[in-house]
Every structure is written in C-alpha cells, then in structure tokens.
C-alpha cells in the first residue's frame, strides 16, 4: 500500500483510518484549488475591482451605506445592500419610474455643478462632447483633502473599472483611493490646476444609472455634511461642527492629523 513500508497491513480498519485522513486532506487541498482557480478566473475576467469594492462596502460603517432614496426622503432610513450597484435594484427602478424630477435644492454650501454626475465616493464625472468623460474630485472631497501631498494618477492606456480604484492621493498621514465612477480607458491625465484629473474613454455607451445628479446630488451633499460631522466628532477631543452655517473653504484643517486617515477613508468610502 505505502511504497517502502513493508509493515503496513492493508486490512479494512487500516484502510478506513488512512482513507478518512486522505479524504480530509483531499477536501482541504480541493477547496484551496477551487478558491485559487475561482480567484484567477475573476481576475482574468476583470472582476477584481468589483470584488474589491464589495469588500470595501461590507466594511464601511452603516452611516455610509444609506440608500440614495433615503437621502432624498423617499425611503427614509433605508440602507443599501447592493454596494450602490443601482442598476440591478428593483426598488430603484420602480422609484425612478414613478418619481418626478427632484428640484435642485440647497447643496449644503458646496459647489455642485449641474453638468456633472457624482459618485458616492466623491468623484465627479462630466460627459464631454467628444464622447470621453472627465473625472475629478468633488467640492467636499477637495476641501476635505486640502492640498494633497501626493497624487498618483494612472498612466494613459490604463483601464479603470467602475467602483475600482481610479487614482490615489495622500494628505499628511492619510492615504486614500478614489473610486472610479466609470469603466473605460484613461486617455489623458490632468491635474488639480487643469480642473480635471483624468479623461476616460468609456466602454460602450455611458451608463450613469448608479451616479447622482441634480436634486439627488444636492440632497447627497447636504447629507454628507451630517456624515462628516459624525466622522469628525468621533475623533476624541474635537468638538462637533455647529449646526447651520456654511462649511469653511479648507475643511482639512478641522480634522486632527491622527484622525485624518480615518475620516478621509470614511467619507471617500475606503474601509
């Protein structure tokens, strides 16, 4: 039975004994192989970004998972369990079919241009006339980050996946990735001074169903101010921002250095 082992007696008891262990070992190895093959397949099929996003989303605090229809008051208190993938959400489809366009109300003091779409992770997307889209950081994120110490943009030709990392930046001890609102290929890199950070050629027709615009975007920014207040007040010894009034230009100075990483991660949806 076992090569080189002349003492081994292949009686039923011994065979069952070794067979059980061989079966357990085979199950462990088999499960590992299944996981590895499945992971490899997911990576080659470009699903890594989606899995990464699902993973991040699961670990976010519940305050960050509010449904877009809760922000607008249509479904108060509802939380998203689909990682903001509104495309397949039946509730969203029904509400979109029934609802009237929301008026563009107060934006909480933030600059929210109406010609852009907004990702819940605070990147904006602007469709350009040539079929490309430009991406950048929205006003809240810009004020929150202040002057970034590093800005790592992907090179031209790099592929972006919706909700996957678009670019990374650091500010002081904080280091965050900004989630991409679109799937496509980077065709130009910009800068803060240029007014956009990336120009992307989307794969196929532009799909903005998971993004916010108009009245929804306004409601989102107003609610984000509350969330920011919660995130900052979580930092011990820092007083909560007073209700009312407008946010100051450079919000980054309101966050203690040791809490910056946590607050930025919470607001820009990176666990």
């Amino acid at each position: 039975m076992l090569p080189g082992n002349t003492d081994f007696i292949a009686d039923p008891f011994n065979l069952v004994f070794l067979g059980v262990f061989a079966a357990v070992l085979a199950t462990v190895v088999g499960t590992l192989v299944v996981a590895a093959v499945s992971a490899r397949r997911a990576v080659t099929r470009g699903k890594a970004a989606s899995i990464l996003w699902q993973h991040e989303f699961e670990e976010l605090p519940s305050s960050a998972k509010e449904c877009r229809h809760a922000l607008t008051g249509e479904l108060p208190g509802r939380h998203c369990d689909r990682a903001f993938e509104c495309k397949g959400c039946e509730t969203h489809a029904k509400l979109v079919a029934d609802a009237k366009a929301l008026p563009f109300l107060d934006t909480g003091g933030f600059d929210v241009p109406a010609d852009r779409y907004y990702h819940r992770g605070h990147a904006w997307l602007k469709p350009e006339e040539d079929g490309t889209v430009t991406l950048g950081l929205d006003d809240l994120a810009t004020r929150l980050v202040g002057k970034p110490s590093t800005l790592d943009l992907p090179p031209v030709g790099e592929r972006l996946a919706e909700n996957g990392p678009a670019f990374r930046l650091s500010a002081g001890k904080a280091r965050v990735r900004i989630a991409s609102p679109v799937t496509g290929e980077v065709v130009e890199t910009g800068s803060l001074a240029k007014g956009f950070l990336l120009r992307v050629k989307p794969d196929g027709p532009l799909d903005t169903r998971a993004l916010l615009s108009g009245g929804e975007a306004a409601a989102f920014f107003t609610r984000e101010m509350d969330r920011l207040q919660l995130a900052i007040s979580g930092a011990r010894g820092v007083p909560a921002l007073a209700d009312g009034g407008l946010p100051v230009g450079d919000l980054s100075k309101a966050i203690p250095e040791e809490d910056r990483d946590r607050v930025l991660g919470e607001m820009l949806l990176e666990a």
Partner: protein, 411 residues
C-alpha cells in the same frame, strides 16, 4: 512604512515603543531556540525525561495549548456552522490564537521527538493502533487548516489588499470558510479526543484507565468537552488581556457575555460528566484493578485537594459563575471566572500527564518525581515568546477585531 501597514482608523503604539515591547519576547524565543539547538545537537539527554518519565513538560505544554487553542475551532464552528454572527468580533483573534497554539505544539513536538528530519516517518509508517498516530495526523492537518484560515487575515492587510489578486483570493477563501470550519471541527473533535483517549486506554495504569464507551475510553469525550468549554473562555481572556495591554476597547461587552455564557454551559455539562466519571472510577473501575483510589492521593503534593480543585473549585464554581447573568454583566468577575475555567483545564492536563507518570503502577515501582531541565523550560518559554511575538505583530498590522475601529470612533 509602518503607518501604511496599520489598518485605517486603528491607533497603534509608535514603532520604537512596539519594538521595545517585542524585545524581551524575542529574547525568550532566542534563548529557547538555543536550548532547542542543544537538544538537537546533543540529544534528549539534555532533558530530565527518561524511559519511565517519557512525558514531561513538553507534552504537558502540548496538551494544554491544544486545549486552550480549541477556541479557534469552536468559535469557527459557532460562527460558520451555527451562524452565531456576533462572534465575528473575535473570530480573527481566535484563529491567530489557535494558529499560535497549534504551531507551538507541533514545534515543541519536533524537539520532543528529537529527530525532526524523520518526522515524516509517522505518516509513512503509521502505527494505526496508537492514539498518537491519529493525534499526529489530525494536528498536522488542522495546523494546515489554521494556516489557510490565517492567510486571509494577512491578505486583508491594508497594503497587501491593494494587490487585486490577493484580495480576490481572500474573498474566494472567505466564501469557502464554512468548509474549513467544518473540517477544523471534525479534526479537533478527534485529536482532542485521542489526546484524552491515550491516557484512558492505559490498562496497566489504574490512575489513568477509564471505562470505555464502544472503543473509546471516557477520557476521549471528556477531553473534547473540556477543550470546547474552555476555548471560548480563553478567547474571552486573551481579548480582555489584549484590550488591557493596548488600552483599547476591542469588542463590545455583549461579545464577552456571549463567550462567557457558551463557556459556562459547556463547562457545566463537562463538570457533571467528569463528576460521574470520577464516581465510576472511584467506586468501580479502580477497585476492579485491585487498587483503591485513596492510594493515588497518598503521595504529596498529589493529595485529594487536587481532585477537588479540578472538579469543584476550577470546574463547578466557574461554570456557575459564567452562567450567572449578574456575574457576566461585570467584566472583572467574568474574566475571573474565565481564568478559573482555563486554570481547571490546565490542571486537568497536568494531572493526566504528570501525576499519571509519577504514580507507581507496579508493586515494585516507587513514586517518581520529575522536574524539567533548564533546556526543557527554555524551549517551553520559547513557545510563549513566539506566541506573544506573533500575536503582537498580527494585532499591529492585521485587523483582528473588526469592531475596534467603530468602538474607537465612539470614544
């Protein structure tokens, strides 16, 4: 560099201070490795064990850490199989503790065997009549399972998860974790049992020999049950200790209470069965062999107090304490009860290993005493140093307590 490895929102001590904390444990590990080298280079004459006292400090350590490390399999079983989702808060830490306990046990076994390069003999030339063969197979396989369970924690490190392939693999492994939890439970069930069984089948040693249920002596079941009972207590205890040392709230009090309650119920069942087993042993099993139980307790320091301490003081009392809602509501008392429960199983393993071998089993035998050599003690302490080192590193760079960030933000 160090900052970028620490999970977002987690506060850790500055690196120089952390290195200072590691230094004495690294020293302990180095000292133990030197003792191990002596054992490998000069043989097992470096120990105070002999043909009569063949199980010493090392086997006692193995039995103890394997019992305490049962928290890993049992927490996994409760979370993934019975869906006690509140235990998500401690499962990562339980896995790390389990990995440390089992890898420490396997490491020290390699030294004990004396010829680690021939370790594969046990797999290729298995003595299928020995309980220890089953133990070896199970422990080795289970250590592999624990390594698989530990790997996703490493892959979720803040920097490593930026490598897309690693996080995807972690995701896929996590989805299959129920398989590993099931296998872990099966393997733990058998090796905990066989560790107890190997004493219960010692027909020539009336102190250890017990009645059999089918092919298994009662110690087989008692070892499984005692390990499952104290596993959650040890997870509770280590979580509390880490919280105290790091001055952080790591889990909510409800998690401590759940662990305490589970441990309390299992401990109560164990104590009842252990009590019945002891009564049968005192009144039937031992007298049948011609030896009265009182003779086992006639050799100081092994008096009857040791049986009382094991079953009542460190068994029944902590079980009752853990089952009291009032006690569970007070963390100090809860921790005290968990310490007592763990001490009970530590004492049980001591009695089964050391007292069994110390007592005379033949008419011409005499009571034998044994004290470990410094090399044995150093190798024993090396496991402690290794455990603290690995746990400290894991605590710093891996997210062992998912609730920590939220609790820290609440202040």
């Amino acid at each position: 560099m160090d900052d970028t490895l620490i999970g977002r929102g987690l506060k850790r001590t500055p690196l120089p201070r952390f290195l200072l904390w590691l230094a004495p444990w690294a020293g302990l590990l180095a000292f133990g490795l030197y003792a191990t080298y002596l054992c490998f280079a000069h043989g097992l004459n470096q120990t105070n064990m002999d043909n009569r006292f063949a199980f010493g400090l090392w086997i006692y350590l193995d039995l103890t850490v394997i019992a305490l490390g049962a928290g890993a399999f049992f927490t996994g079983f409760l979370l993934y199989i019975l869906k006690r989702t509140e235990l998500k808060a401690v499962i990562n830490s339980a896995v790390v503790i389990g990995f440390i306990c089992y890898s420490g046990a396997v490491g020290i076994l390699m030294v004990d065997v004396g010829q680690p390069l021939r370790a594969w003999f046990t797999f290729w030339h298995p003595n299928v009549h020995s309980m220890l063969t089953e133990v070896t197979f199970c422990i080795t396989l289970y250590l592999g399972v624990l390594a698989v369970e530990y790997a996703p924690l490493v892959m979720k490190n803040r920097r490593l998860k930026e490598i897309p392939g690693l996080l995807v693999l972690e995701h896929k492994l996590h989805k299959l974790m129920v398989v590993f939890a099931g296998i872990g439970t099966l393997l733990s069930f058998f090796h905990q049992g066989s560790l107890g069984g190997l004493y219960g089948v010692l027909r020539g040693n009336p102190f250890a020999f017990r009645e059999h249920i089918f092919i298994w002596p009662t110690t087989f079941f008692l070892f499984i049950l005692s390990a499952a009972a104290v596993g959650p207590s040890f997870v509770l205890l280590t979580t509390w200790l880490v919280g105290k040392v790091s001055r952080k709230r790591l889990v909510s009090p409800e998690v401590f209470q759940t662990l305490g309650k589970i441990s309390g119920w299992l401990l109560l069942v164990y104590v009842v069965l252990k009590g019945i087993d002891s009564l049968v042993w005192i009144n039937a099993t031992s007298p049948k062999t011609g030896v009265q139980v009182s003779s086992f307790y006639a050799h100081p320091p092994f008096g009857t107090w040791i049986l009382f301490a094991e079953v009542v003081l460190l068994g029944l009392v902590p079980a009752v304490l853990l089952l009291s809602r009032r006690v569970r509501a007070r963390t100090g008392l809860l921790v005290l009860a968990a310490v007592m429960a763990c001490a009970g199983v530590v004492l049980n393993r001591y009695v089964m290993t050391i007292q069994t071998l110390a007592l005379p089993s033949l008419p011409f035998d005499s009571f034998l005493s044994y004290s470990p050599s410094w090399q044995e003690t150093a190798a024993f302490l090396a496991v402690l140093g290794y455990g603290v080192l690995l746990y400290s590193i894991s605590f710093r760079w891996l997210n062992l307590f998912p609730e920590e960030r939220e609790l820290a933000a609440k202040g």
